[in-house]
């Protein structure tokens, strides 16, 4: 397997009047062709900023201040704006949380798809229409050609998100960053979209980074999971292992707060406390103030330990994987 995307020590900072916020802090991971990984964390953990950083879409007062992002072998950090633009949509695309907000309410679906197409290809009106129809059919929109003349408000939430997915797939990119693509949808439709995106990814050989706060949704689609907290990746591993044997106490907390982790009638367990302000992170492990296992050793930033296909940043891991990758 070859990596289509390699992220090394990525660092994104926001320079605000109140101080500098390191929203993405030394994040490293790689993504193989066709692979789906889940990027999980609470809101404010830096997972969305990570996604935007990959496309070079960080607005002032933010900036990528270090590290490297290699897409299909070319370095994106430091690339000119024009070149970055030519890669967006064609090699790497993004889907957002709220399809009502992402589609322009005043343009037809056909117009918006046409704009996305013409960003990278010159096509005749007829060819454009064919391509758009085909793209809509692929994501399961009935009577696609007729619906090109419809406006976003004439679609249901799930259909709108399908349109957004169709736009993201127009140029058959190698990587799609999906930022909470099902969070705004009804639960029944969530499952549908997850299944369909999984199939589309396989069909097109698209690798995906699925960003979510919801471990349950991610575990249904991703083969690997990265857990993020306060700008850092604190644990990685295959989805099955992370779910079965979490190493970082934060991951354990996330798992425990999932509804099916509790028996019926039992209270949902929540992680005590809340994310610290990114402007005043505690020295050392950022999770320590909320961690049941924290002690004096946690005042230094824990090193990333890599072992048996897993990695973690914790001096008091819950379990240790053995070298065969299976744990007791």
């Amino acid at each position: 397997m070859t990596a289509v995307l390699e992220v090394r020590d990525l660092r994104t900072e926001f320079f605000t009047a109140a101080g500098t916020v390191r929203a993405v802090n030394d994040v490293s991971f790689s993504l193989d062709e066709g692979e789906i990984i889940g990027l999980v964390g609470e809101s404010g953990s830096g997972k969305s900023v990570t996604g935007f950083s990959l496309l070079g879409l960080i607005d002032a007062p933010g900036r990528i201040t270090g590290g490297s992002v290699r897409l299909n072998g070319s370095e994106l950090v430091g690339m000119s704006r024009g070149e970055l633009r030519r890669r967006r949509g064609r090699e790497i695309a993004m889907i957002f949380q709220d399809p009502i907000a992402t589609l322009n309410p005043l343009l037809t679906i056909g117009q918006q798809m046409g704009l996305a197409l013409s960003a990278h290809e010159r096509l005749s009106p007829k060819a454009t229409e064919d391509r758009c129809t085909e793209a809509l059919e692929r994501v399961g929109i009935p009577s696609a050609r007729a619906r090109l003349k419809s406006y976003p408000h004439e679609f249901s939430g799930g259909m709108r998100q399908r349109v957004a997915i169709a736009i993201a797939l127009l140029h058959r990119p190698k990587v799609i960053v999906a930022d909470e693509p099902t969070t705004a949808l009804d639960v029944s439709i969530q499952a549908q979209i997850v299944t369909e995106m999984k199939m589309l990814a396989r069909e097109f050989g698209v690798a995906m980074i699925w960003i979510s706060h919801d471990l349950a949704v991610v575990s249904g689609i991703a083969s690997r999971i990265l857990v993020m907290y306060a700008g850092r990746i604190v644990e990685t591993g295959t989805a099955a292992e992370v779910l079965r044997n979490p190493i970082h106490p934060y991951t354990r907390g996330l798992l425990d707060s999932m509804p099916h982790a509790t028996r019926p009638g039992e209270m949902l367990r929540q992680i005590p406390g809340s994310m610290p302000s990114m402007l005043s992170l505690p020295p050392g492990c950022a999770f320590a103030p909320r961690c049941p296992r924290a002690d004096a050793a946690c005042t230094a930033v824990p090193e990333l330990v890599q072992q048996g296909g897993r990695s973690w940043r914790c001096v008091h891991p819950l379990t240790q994987p053995d070298h065969e990758g299976a744990t007791a």
Binding site: A23, S48, M275, S277, M278
Partner: protein
């Protein structure tokens, strides 16, 4: 996109919101200067009789010998007319200070009355609801679609000259802005469950209105008030310029400008220009302060 969480000040003594507000205000140096200018002009206007070199309305101190002298002229009074004199031989600086006084008086009076009437009408409509609400708000909206200057123009023409008449015209032209604002804020609050709940209990109407609806209207009303006071200063000046506002015996800044208009063609620019500059300084300072307050009260613009 999830941004960084806002800073929370160090725990300890709770700072009153007004102090926090001032701290944030102070960070905009431009607005702070504007506030200082506003206060200074208000002070100067209040104490104009003690500051001005001359009482411009005391005809005995005026001499036509001094009429239309350029800035820097030493008049028969034995002092320098820093800004020159007008057609009656009045010291322009003194006339401007007194004019400022009248302009501020009128616009403040109009602003407060319009605020009171507007807020009452708006909150009442929101509280009572039903057909009364729709009738009141229809009238308000209708009036809002009509330019304030036209209304003020016609009213002051019909009512005649005088301070009270002018204030009436300005109030009639402006109350609708306050009513719309108060109504908007009050209905937003009224739809909240806890107010609905409070209305269902035998709590007095006064309590609901004064404890829940009015406080919620205050921030937007403050913003509208600054804008409207600035605009009523301008409106008053415009009416006076057109000869519709105040009688000649009480010249506001607008009338001073109007009086000087005739002399401008012959190059005696100062009679019109200096009162105008004072007018602009005042309006601009209030507008900048108002802008800053609005930005601070508008959570959507915060990053």
């Amino acid at each position: 996109m999830t941004g960084p969480a806002p800073t929370t000040p160090a725990p300890g003594k709770a700072t009153p919101p007004i102090v926090l507000f001032w701290r944030e205000f102070r960070r905009n140096r431009f607005a702070t200067v504007a506030l200082a200018v506003t206060l200074l002009l208000a002070f100067v206007a209040l104490f104009a009789p003690f500051i001005a070199p001359q009482d411009p309305y005391n005809l005995q101190t005026l001499s036509l010998m001094d009429a239309r002298r350029p800035p820097g002229h030493v008049g028969s009074g034995g002092y320098v007319h820093i800004l020159g004199t007008d057609a009656q031989g009045r010291d322009l600086l003194s006339a401007i200070l007194y004019g400022l006084r009248i302009s501020i008086q009128i616009s403040l009076a109009a602003g407060f009355i319009a605020l009171t009437i507007g807020a009452t009408v708006g909150v009442l409509a929101a509280y009572v609801g039903g057909w009364i609400e729709s009738v009141i708000m229809r009238i308000v909206d209708l009036q809002l679609s009509f330019p304030a200057i036209l209304l003020a123009l016609v009213l002051s023409a019909l009512l005649g000259q005088g301070k009270a008449q002018l204030v009436t015209a300005l109030v009639a032209a402006q109350y609708a802005y306050f009513a719309r604002t108060a109504y908007g804020a009050a209905t937003a609050e009224r739809r909240k469950d806890y107010v609905e709940a409070a209305l269902a209990t035998p709590l007095s109407a006064r309590r609901v209105i004064f404890r829940h609806l009015l406080p919620n209207c205050a921030p937007p009303l403050i913003v509208v008030a600054t804008v409207q006071i600035a605009s009523s200063i301008s409106l008053e000046a415009t009416l006076s310029f057109l000869g519709l506002g105040l009688p000649v015996t009480e010249p506001s800044l607008g009338m001073l400008i109007s009086n000087g208009f005739a002399y401008m063609m012959s190059g005696r620019y100062w009679i019109s220009v200096y009162p105008g500059l004072m007018l602009i300084l005042l309006i601009m300072a209030i507008n900048i302060v108002g802008d800053q307050i609005r930005d601070q009260l508008n959570p959507r613009l915060r990053r």
